[in-house]
């Protein structure tokens, strides 16, 4: 049986409780209990590291099957810019988009289109007065969650522009409403996703968005439709022209793609969740005070490194760069600055809800009790071996000590402590054996 854990399914039959995910989780959100991995929901940021790293493929992201599109009369695919990095450049972007349409969609609109609007609107948002510097990109949902959980004071810095995915969906619904007779409830918009975090965003929008025109109806993993797209690519049918983005827009799939839209600003783009954590640490303590814009992406290389992609992230990057180079000579989208301003001023590209800090629970609400627990943790930690081996089911000795003090684990969960206890016990039983039977009788 599969069990839903946050954004991630655990296939319990495949999970051996091997602790690989435990030791690689960047936020220490995993514990192995009863021989199976479990996720502490308040700590999980949906980065997908565990999905990527599990040697037994026991962790799966909750995405939708392609068949779900049949629930809707009018089916729209909105593929992430990453999609065009999944195939060799001999297949044109139009051909790839046509192949996606052949999966059963009525329409294909690149998320790169929304990315172009968001990218160009970034300069307006940058000058909005209410942000402390650096302005932090909201593009990667895993990084936004990371900031909420681990860098709560930086939530104020997060850019309030919506993601290219959400904007693309809104623009599609707006157009269909204004130009066709299709009922909004008959429209099914499906994001073709490179990562788990975006899939979670689609399935459990953190927003309490009452705006039904912003809805995305499902997220389909790139890897789940890769084979089908490949076979359509090679079947020789003519490609229609759907391609409607710019090299700048589809380069959002790469680390730095968004930052490139801010000309003449001090930007810093960082990819890989651990690298992002390190740099945010520096930002939080005030060291990087000259940075004006920070783009952090959880996956190595950016979205091309997403855990639901197929092609190697470096190869995908090369394909995208090749396409960008070639596109410069041919088609560039003509999107007027007035249009970008109009969308920006309409409010449809702003995140409506607050991005609230979600710091970890303190050890106790009462500081005196918290201090007492902290001291208890330190004493316990000093009795543990300090190997951070993970055998106890916690990611390290410190984490085990914390779990013990908060009542979630026991000292003998540590195999070394257990061994010592067994040794003591065997010494004691040896002693008792030497003493003979207390009543003077033998067991014979």
């Amino acid at each position: 049986m599969e069990k839903l854990l946050h954004s991630v399914y655990l296939d319990e039959e495949k999970c051996l409780g091997c602790t690989t995910c435990l030791r690689n989780c960047p936020t220490g959100a995993i514990r192995v209990r009863g021989g199976k991995a479990t996720i502490i929901e308040s700590k999980c940021i949906d980065c997908g590291e565990c999905i990527r790293i599990c040697p037994h493929k026991a962790k799966l992201a909750k995405t939708d099957p392609l068949s779900k599109i049949n629930d809707y009369k009018y089916k729209v695919a909105i593929p992430a810019p990453t999609i065009i990095g999944q195939f060799k450049t001999k297949h044109s972007i139009d051909r790839i988009l046509s192949a996606i349409k052949s999966l059963g969609f009525d329409e294909v609109v690149e998320v790169a289109y929304g990315a172009e609007v968001v990218g160009r609107a970034l300069k307006y948002e940058f000058h909005a007065k209410h942000y402390p510097k650096p302005l932090i990109s909201s593009a990667c949902p895993a990084v936004v969650k990371l900031i909420q959980v681990r860098f709560p004071e930086l939530t104020k810095n997060i850019c309030r522009l919506t993601s290219p995915m959400a904007l693309t969906a809104r623009l599609v619904r707006k157009r269909l409403r204004e130009q066709t007779n299709i009922k909004n409830s008959d429209v099914g918009i499906f994001f073709i996703t490179p990562c788990a975090a975006k899939a979670t965003m689609v399935n459990n929008p953190s927003s309490t968005e009452d705006d039904m025109y912003a809805n995305i109806d499902g997220a389909i993993a790139i890897k789940d439709v890769y084979n089908d797209i490949s076979s359509f690519l090679n079947d020789g049918t003519k490609a229609n022209s759907y391609y409607n983005s710019t090299p700048g827009a589809f380069s959002w799939a790469l680390s730095g793609g968004e930052s490139d839209y801010l000309k003449n600003k001090n930007v810093l783009h960082v990819d890989g969740i651990q690298n992002v954590i390190n740099v945010l640490d520096e930002i939080e303590c005030g060291k990087l005070d000259t940075i004006e814009f920070f783009e952090g992406l959880a996956c190595i290389g950016g979205c091309v490194g997403g855990c639901l992609t197929v092609e190697n992230n470096y190869v995908a990057k090369m394909y995208i760069q090749e396409r960008a180079k070639n596109a410069k000579q041919t088609s560039i989208l003509h999107m007027s600055e007035e249009y970008v301003k109009e969308v920006y001023n309409s409010g449809m590209m702003h995140i409506k809800e607050r991005i609230v800090p979600r710091p970890a629970e303190p050890l106790d609400q009462d500081i005196n009790k918290a201090i007492a627990k902290m001291q208890e943790i330190e004493v316990l930690e000093s009795h543990l071996p300090g190997l951070d081996c993970g055998s106890c089911g916690a990611p390290g000795c410190r984490a085990l000590a914390e779990d013990i003090v908060t009542g979630k684990a026991r000292e003998i969960d540590c195999v070394f402590v257990l061994k010592d206890r067994v040794l003591e016990l065997s010494k004691l039983s040896n002693e008792l054996l030497q003493l003979g039977h207390p009543t003077g009788k033998t067991s014979e």
Binding site: C285, G286, K287, I367, I371, M374
Partner: protein, 139 residues
């Protein structure tokens, strides 16, 4: 109830730069101190840590948590500061080119500490060392 954390910082130890401030931050989060105060103490603590690595021969950072206030003490063995008033001027720095090339030595260290702490006290003896005591009110 009170609680203390002590960190040793060695001269020139840029590898570990920021480690003490990171641990202080994590500890204070677990103790339930507000994010706003944690941010202030992170900035002040980081500046202190850098000062020890750059200017001193080594020293200690001590965080003391009391019921109503946090005290951060930064104490070193080193050359001392001849003119404290001048050292407290924004932009003044005696850091060498090498340190500046690493992005430090902008002369904001002490100023940033004063800005973020609720109380700031500095004493220095030439050829002996410097001691800074900062208080942060909780709540």
């Amino acid at each position: 109830m009170s609680y203390e954390l002590v960190f040793d910082v060695k001269r020139g130890d840029f590898d570990k730069a920021g480690e003490a401030s990171r641990k202080i931050k994590h500890t204070l989060q677990q103790l339930g101190v507000s994010n706003r105060i944690i941010r202030k103490i992170s900035i002040a603590g980081y500046e202190g840590e850098m000062n020890l690595a750059i200017h001193s021969l080594g020293g200690k950072i001590i965080l003391a948590v009391g019921e109503n206030k946090l005290t951060l003490t930064i104490e070193d063995v080193g050359p001392g500061i001849p003119d404290i008033k001048l050292a407290m001027t924004e932009g003044f720095s005696t850091a060498g080119d090498e340190v500046r090339s690493m992005g430090f030595g902008a002369g904001m260290g002490l100023t940033n500490m004063v800005k973020n702490a609720d109380a700031f006290e500095i004493t220095s003896e030439i050829n002996e060392g410097t001691k800074i005591v900062m208080n942060f009110i909780i709540q």
